[in-house]
């Protein structure tokens, strides 16, 4: 190639390379990548897990997006480029398996959680059973049962207590469990139903009651690798199931699988 042609090509090449870089956002790093879609309830523990994973797999770089499990499921159905899902319930994962989006063989339950009723510190006592006795105008925040597993658990539990329908006028739904927690912290609602793990590091709220009894839900954290994603996805699931991953999850308040 003539030197003139080269001179013209270099700046063009640079521009094209930069554009390619910008669009993939993967230019800095040359090692294996893991892209994770995680339930909002994992937003505190996931950075720790990712850090530990990257240390154990030198050269690796993991990243996560958070949202309500139902919302994330929708995005993956639409083809979002994700390698592994870590959801707060079994249903969204199983639905993705049914649609052939997620690899059934890689599916693991990696942790468990508890459903709790929280309210402001110093506020009046209230339990799951006494929700209907709250003063008029006092509201209860719950995840949207259609898209948030915590909300689905709450609905099912309150239904077995025979309270769900009567509670409807007071119920305020949040788009994810983080939003539900925020409503409680802002004082917009008198009580909120979230996971026990949500209270870690939160000082202005206290647990008023824990779901118990035969019909208490058993929230599970379920991970699986996405079909067509990188093989590192399955590796990440294995890491979550390992004792190292389990230790980190336990330190954040999650129960053993």
């Amino acid at each position: 190639m003539s030197s003139r042609a080269l001179a013209v090509m270099s700046p063009c090449r640079t521009v094209v390379a930069l554009l390619a870089c910008a669009s993939t956002m993967a230019c800095e790093h040359k090692g294996p990548e893991v892209s994770i879609a995680a339930a909002t309830s994992l937003r505190a523990v996931m950075p720790e897990l990712m850090h530990a994973y990257d240390l154990a797999h030198p050269g690796s770089h993991s990243s996560a997006t958070y949202g309500a499990s139902g919302e994330l499921r929708q995005q993956i159905e639409a083809g979002a480029p994700v390698d592994v899902v870590v959801f707060a319930g079994e249903r969204p994962v199983d639905e993705l398996i049914k649609e052939g989006r997620v690899d059934a063989a890689s599916r693991r339950i990696v942790a468990t959680n508890e459903l709790v009723l929280v309210g402001t510190k110093g506020g009046p006592p209230v339990t799951f059973e006494t929700l209907l006795t709250l003063p008029d105008g006092d509201r209860v925040a719950v995840g949207d049962p259609r898209t948030v597993p915590a909300g689905e658990y709450a609905r099912d539990y309150l239904s077995t207590l025979g309270e769900w329908d009567a509670l409807q006028p007071r119920v305020v739904t949040g788009a994810n469990v983080g939003a539900v927690l925020v409503y409680a912290r802002r004082g917009e609602v008198a009580a909120a139903i979230v996971y026990a793990t949500e209270l870690r590091g939160v000082t202005d709220l206290v647990v008023k009651d824990t779901a118990h009894g035969d019909h208490a839900p058993h929230p599970k954290v379920v991970a699986a690798a996405v079909h067509g994603g990188r093989t590192e996805g399955a590796e990440f699931v294995r890491f979550l199931s390992s004792s190292a991953g389990g230790k980190i999850l336990a330190s954040f308040g999650f129960g053993a699988p």
């Binding site: 309500a68 139902g70 919302e71 929708q74 159905e77 105008g137 509201r139 949207d144 259609r146 898209t147 409807q168 119920v171 305020v172 739904t173 949040g174 788009a175 802002r186 004082g187 917009e188």
Partner: protein, 223 residues
């Protein structure tokens, strides 16, 4: 379930009509003021009117919660004095829709009024009308096309509100789930046929709005 499929339609219509009922008189009055009066803070008021048009809806939602939330300046007052809580109510949806519809209405009506020749108003005064009567019986009728366009565009914006409504009124089934919010939920839960229903309704409404607004653009009055 027919009942709860119809609810978002009725809710959206109610919210938009109420929002317009609030916004129309205030907006038209403000458009008249900005078009005809010259006062010192006029530029500042112009900017304030335009603000909700330019602010991202999530920012508007945030400000609404800041002001009207339980711990907000106005919300706290409403709660302690009247026991009224606005967040997560249909009233909140009305407020959010009113806030975003307001600048569109004012900015559509104002040029129409400015295009009304002042002489029409001067003559009407000599014929015995008071200043208010002139505004109501001459200025506004002369600008009717622009007023109609403003109302219709304001209605469209009100019924299409999403971001601020989601934050301030929430997306609570059976209470504050307007059509735009329902489309989002239906999409997220994979209920495409339900989403399609509301998409069709809102698209039809929007087409109607555009047709009306386009045929009644603020035209300069001919001699």
């Amino acid at each position: 379930m027919m009942g709860d499929a119809v609810f978002p339609v009725l809710l959206s219509l109610r919210v938009a009509v109420l929002a317009l009922a609030i916004v129309a008189p205030a907006g038209v009055a403000l458009a008249l003021t900005q078009a005809r009066a010259r006062y010192r803070l006029r530029r500042l008021v112009d900017v304030l009117i335009l603000l909700p048009l330019v602010l991202p809806p999530s920012v508007i939602g945030f400000f609404l919660i800041l002001v009207f939330g339980r711990r907000g300046a106005i919300g706290g007052l409403l709660d302690s004095v009247l026991g009224v809580r606005l967040v997560f109510t249909p009233a909140a949806a009305v407020i959010a829709s009113a806030v975003v519809a307001f600048p569109i209405l004012v900015k559509t009506v104002q040029p129409a009024i400015e295009a009304v020749p002042v002489e029409l108003e001067l003559v009407a005064r000599t014929l015995g009308l008071s200043s208010i009567a002139v505004l109501l019986r001459v200025t506004l009728p002369a600008a009717w096309r622009g007023v109609l366009a403003g109302l219709v565009l304001g209605f469209a914006r009100a019924i299409g509100e999403f971001g601020a409504t989601l934050m301030f009124a929430g997306n609570i089934p059976g209470r504050t789930n307007t059509m735009p919010l329902e489309i989002f939920t239906a999409y997220q839960t994979g209920d495409d046929s339900r989403a399609a229903l509301y998409v069709a309704i809102l698209t039809g409404l929007s087409v109607g709005v555009v047709l009306v607004a386009n045929s009644s653009g603020p035209r300069a009055m001919s001699r």
